[in-house]
Assembly symmetry: C2
Homo-oligomer: 774 residues x 2
């Protein structure tokens, strides 16, 4: 079932929005239907008029009016109510938004399917009232219909004051991503609003007029005659408009059809082997969890097929609140309008300060916030902060390059300094300046295999068992286990011995770096939280001695080595908590945040730390300060959006939205680990013969495929599954899944607002595609 | 002359905007004046009502209405016109926006100065029509008054359809950075719009009502009586509103007063020695070239003084189009509303593609565009591109770390890889992981000294002269000189010998890196374009041989070494051209853009290059691709804003806006170097006894102070001048200069939209402050 409710070359559909009530919306819609019908006759198309919600019925019926004055136009009203008032107060038994939308989509599907015999169809959807007039549910018109992503004909207001309402309506529509090819209004010589508007919208929308309608006549027969004559006059004004709409529509699809090839020609995509790109996804728009895309109907074909795709890679792990969230847009627009970007050093602005205050409220262990642009820069800043602190405390020579202690499989970003903090891997293998600066432990890893949660312990740890099984993920994170499990002694002993060994080789370390719980780019690997906690505990308790540095920090200062936690991927509620390290029972000395921090809208990153780190950079010499800072540091738009995102996430966390996901995973409810995925699906997946193991945690569901050749990231195994998912439609939906390959790991990722029923669809699609590969 | 037209604790001023005409704006303004007058009596304040532009006068006079129904309110109309129509068509002799604003500012200044005997004042500025109704010039009301940055009382529309017009008006105001503490409308029981709006604006604005006014009576005496009674009724509704406004105003100033200290407590500012911060600038908003700031009236004092400051550091060199440019805001809001951020690898979206196409049109030497977040990441990407290309062409071992050839004084960003590409300097001196990877030449530098343009030639170049003088900057960039000057032979001979010497030491080089013409962070140093061109020419012609690599590139491929041009600071018309390297007559192999690229709004950076570089990364192995890419890569908001910025810059370049700045600097007009600064000012500055030399190029005016102790960046010399400029007001203006120190260099920087008269003020302020230091 293709998503044929989306516009296509053959299906030319428009919203008709108005700047206000009583600006003649139905008259214009009628005129447009007439003009379309004339075109349709010539090119063998059909014309549909849709009024989703009609109030004041049957006295008022816009569809009947259209019927009366058009020929060959199929008119439909979906909901009709007697009360002649604003729809949101018209009835108490209002249908839900989703219900209305579902009916509209079905109707649109009909417009296309019925049109199989013909060349295609035109459709005009007449909204109610002005662009922000409430629908039955209270949702505004422009919010209600935005997921249809139809271009809009805006009916302007020709009366005194109409310039203002037309322009404000235009802006509100633009803020919601509506394209507005045409603005139409009456030619009211008293005000000539259209002249001003034509200048104002120059290069954006064309502005056209029709004559004012005649006075209404009491005699219905005469009135009908008078209106018929009027519409004949209107035709000559709207026919050129319709021709222009036709042309713009064709141009739009010509562009869409060429975008894939043009993009191949001019982009240098990140992380992409261009010679291996099979299909380029043209993303025409996005809303909530969905992206509206176009791709050729078949390989080598020019004709495009519209697809509605669930963004199952969360657009590179950035989406937490859905695409084009209106609250975030408004926060961004306000900050842009109030500040643009303003100077930050030695200065302050409200969005930056509010964000810093909110971050420090979430991170009560910290006192300082440093701003940069992405996870990689946030981690470089963290490394600079940490190794300068150790250099100072331990009195090292300035030429010493202290190493870091980390975990194999970790990934801290793409800039060279952040790469240097990771063990040699496929990402840094071809970077000539890469210089590994650290010691990395193979962490014990966690995976659900054949229904059991298995911790695999690397040989070098010399545990009695090479693996331990648990009944549930929750048990792993049980504070009791983290405090007293006998495995902790094993881990701690291993770490102690290892640190002594490293120190005896004369190596000097400046920080511990970790992604808490879940390592993303490394292949969605869950490391045993007990090992992560053990590493922190040993370093803090005895690190100074074990590493041969001696000097202890005073009380309240960092101990052993600064613990740097990379929360870029796992933090900001990806795993259900603002800080994933809280699952380890560990507080960092430095933590980096990005990605979901700004709700999936705009680059911004934060490095949060303590005064114990900060104070090392104080002196009376400017050169001693942290000489790092990007041009758009603490840009108000990013800060305002991040603060709005945090507010929404914190509300979701407390208002019960996530209660379904806070199911008990094996330990007492208030300490559980949070997951959006159904236990039985995970169980089932983990039994598939082509599956090595599964991790389901927070909004991430990752399946490691068996990888006989051991190719890991360079394996094409997941690419096949992902390609299948993009073309697979789960029953009763017309939604495909846009996932991304990660070597031999297939993962799907939800946003923090994805609903349980959608989660099921995600799970089942993945499952079916994996089964097909068997 | 302090900028007392800005709100302060004592001066509580509001815009009264309306969602439409005929929603009772004057009635509400009258009611607010009455309520304020009551408060004013109690707390010894004054109340002002201002109607800047009145049409339909004298029949209509809002000020007279206010007069009739208030006591103790001082009312003023600035412009009155007879025509009873929309202001923009009311008269042909319309005053310019600036004129109206200047009168409004003067009036506001009067509100404060007259109020010296009392505790302060209230002011209500009643706008005309709706929020986007045109002023006389055609500028909309909300655009016209935005630079006043007054909080707004929005009068909503209580009629049918009024919900939509009220919400759209609210959004248009928000997009322009207006704070809207209160929404007021009539209590119209027919529609109860206020109930819906109260829910909608929950947590943002308070919504209150007053009763509908009585029917108008024909008998003027009775009408007066009826309205008097009505206003008595209104009082009980608006008195609580006024109390709330009072409270919000006090809270706002309490916040402003504490922001500086709170910011000191929680921020870790970039490039800032916290112990040396004397004053924290509280930036309350910004518009065009100005920032609206608050700082304590005197050191240690709590009371804040509002200041309007010219942003003379272009907010860290990002501003090209002024703060809060409405076109950029709308572009950002549309992209946010249409996409949010969407997946980029193997995908495409219109803002990203359009931007790439526009960049390639500007850079006809290039075929590929790579997206990242800031100049530093763009340069790391460039380095990765370049050194992999040389490694492949010259068949080097993968373990070899090719060095770069660069210029001393260059700066390519704060991430460690970008730092490694710069010679040891104050910025990387304290970065433990910094590892210099290059050879850097001392370039011949250019400076205006005592009225002459002097090129200083370093000793190692072994020129016959150690300096050469020119009459003008233009002569330096004369294509004739760049092609045939005898100095070029000297430079080329030196470079050849040097490259041979480096090669004989066994050193291997992977790229040439340069900031064209102007090195920013290095101290606003202009290097001799002839030397930069000579370096490129030698490397391209004979680099492969001189460096011992042999293999020549095929025709159309890069030659010798990839030439990487860092246009982050100098590009995007900072020096008047899209690409500053065009002044050198050099085309790059790779170029990086950021800062002004997005018009000073949002982080985004581009690395632009050729297929000759790109093709090195193609293979059938994923690991061979460029494994670099940040989460928000090619985010649609950034791309849309960048494209809008480029459009505006290109228009400014062609529509004559810059003709004043394209004055002849000594060579034929079509080849000249572009400068916003007046030659005689530069001349005068260069003669001051405390000045070492001056550089005036593009929108940058930099003055190097004599630095007896040779402290450079760590010198506090410029900090003193900068502090002076922040408190200095040039005659007849109430604008201060917000510049930033750069060691022993004081610079001021304009935006690409700054007008000649403002340029003069900048120059004179700098001059006066420098003279005071003598």
């Amino acid at each position: 079932m293709p998503s044929l409710h989306l516009p296509s070359r053959a299906f030319q559909a428009y919203n008709v929005f108005a700047a206000n009530t009583n600006v003649g919306k139905t008259i214009f819609a009628t005129g447009l239907c007439r003009a379309a019908a004339l075109q349709a006759q010539q090119n063998n198309k059909r014309v549909f008029y849709l009024k989703p919600v009609q109030t004041g019925y049957p006295v008022d019926s816009d569809a009947r009016h259209v019927d009366n004055f058009t020929k060959g136009v199929s008119t439909t009203t979906l909901y009709a109510y007697k009360d002649p008032v604003s729809p949101h107060v018209a009835t108490l038994e209002a249908p839900r938004d989703e219900e209305i939308l579902e009916k509209v989509r079905k109707h649109m599907l009909g417009c296309v399917e019925d049109g199989k015999q013909v060349n295609g169809s035109y459709m005009f959807l007449e909204t109610a009232g002005g662009v922000h007039s409430p629908a039955m549910s209270g949702t505004s018109q422009s919010e209600l219909y935005r997921s249809l992503r139809l271009p809009t004909v805006l009916i302007g207001d020709s009366k005194l004051g109409g310039i203002s309402t037309t322009v404000t309506s235009y802006e509100s529509l633009q803020m919601r991503g509506y394209d507005i090819p045409e603005v139409l209004l009456f030619n009211d010589k008293a005000w000539n609003n259209h002249e001003y508007l034509a200048k104002r919208f120059n290069n954006e929308a064309d502005v056209s007029t029709i004559p004012l309608p005649p006075m209404q006549l009491e005699d219905p027969v005469k009135e009908l005659e008078s209106m018929k004559k009027y519409y004949e006059q209107v035709d000559e004004h709207l026919h050129p408009v319709m021709e222009r709409l036709d042309r713009k529509h064709q141009e739009r699809f010509e562009r869409l059809e060429t975008m894939a090839q043009k993009s191949r020609d001019v982009f240098w995509w990140p992380f992409t082997q261009h010679d291996m790109v099979k299909e380029v996804t043209v993303i025409d728009s996005a809303y909530n969890d969905h992206m509206y895309t176009y791709a050729p109907e078949a390989p080598g074909k020019k004709e495009l097929q519209p697809k509605e795709m669930f963004d199952a890679c969360a657009s590179w792990w950035t989406q937490g609140l859905g695409h084009a969230n209106p609250k975030l847009t408004l926060a961004a627009a306000y900050a842009a309008g109030r500040y643009g970007h303003v100077m930050f050093p030695e200065a302050t602005n409200e969005p930056a300060l509010k964000l810093a205050e909110a971050m420090l409220e979430q991170n009560d262990w910290a006192q300082r916030v440093f701003f940069s642009d992405n996870g990689s820069t946030a981690m470089e800043v963290a490394i600079k902060m940490a190794i300068r602190s150790t250099t100072i405390r331990y009195g090292w020579d300035d030429k010493l390059k202290p190493e870091i202690i980390g975990l194999n499989g970790s990934y801290h970003g793409d800039t060279i300094g952040a790469m240097d903090a990771c063990a040699p891997n496929v990402y840094n293998g071809q970077v000539q300046w890469y210089q590994p600066r650290g010691h990395w432990y193979d962490p014990p890893t966690v995976q659900t295999r054949r229904g059991k949660v298995v911790v695999t312990i690397p040989d070098e740890i010399k545990s009695k068992q090479d693996s331990v099984s648990y009944e549930s993920m929750g048990s792993l994170f049980d504070p009791e286990r983290l405090a007293n499990d006998e495995l902790k002694d094993v881990y701690e002993r291993f770490i102690r011995q290892s640190l002594e060994g490293l120190s005896s080789q004369g190596r000097k370390f400046g920080a511990v770096l970790m992604e808490p719980v879940l390592m993303g780019s490394g292949g969605m690997v869950v490391s045993d939280p007990l090992f992560q906690k053990a590493l922190v505990d040993v370093v803090r308790k005895d690190g100074a001695d074990l590493l041969g540095n001696g000097t202890q920090g005073s009380s309240g200062e960092w101990q052993g080595l600064p613990i740097v936690i990379d929360e870029v991927f796992a933090g900001m509620y990806r795993l259900g908590r603002s800080r994933a390290s809280s699952y380890l029972g560990v507080t960092p000395d430095i933590a980096a945040f990005a990605k979901v921090l700004t709700g999936g809208l705009i680059p911004l990153a934060l490095t949060v730390t303590t005064n114990s780190i900060f104070n090392n950079f104080l002196s009376d010499n400017k050169a001693d300060c942290l000489l790092h800072g990007h041009s758009y540091t603490a840009h108000p738009m990013g800060c305002a959006v991040a603060k709005a995102s945090i507010d929404i996430l914190e509300q979701l966390n407390t208002d019960g939205s996530w209660s379904h996901y806070k199911q008990d995973w094996g330990v007492k409810a208030n300490e559980n680990i949070w997951s959006m995925w159904n236990k039985n699906t995970v169980d089932f997946l983990s039994h598939l013969p082509n599956v090595q193991g599964v991790n389901a945690i927070g909004s991430v569901l990752a399946v490691e495929l068996k990888d006989a050749e051991g190719k890991g990231y360079t394996s094409a195994a997941s690419a096949n599954i992902v390609a299948k998912m993009r073309n697979h439609q789960f029953e009763h939906t017309n939604i495909n899944m846009f996932a991304r390959p990660l070597g031999n790991v297939v993962y799907v990722m939800a946003s923090q607002r994805t609903q349980p029923e959608q989660i099921k669809v995600l799970e089942q699609t993945l499952l079916q595609c994996l089964e097909e590969e068997l």
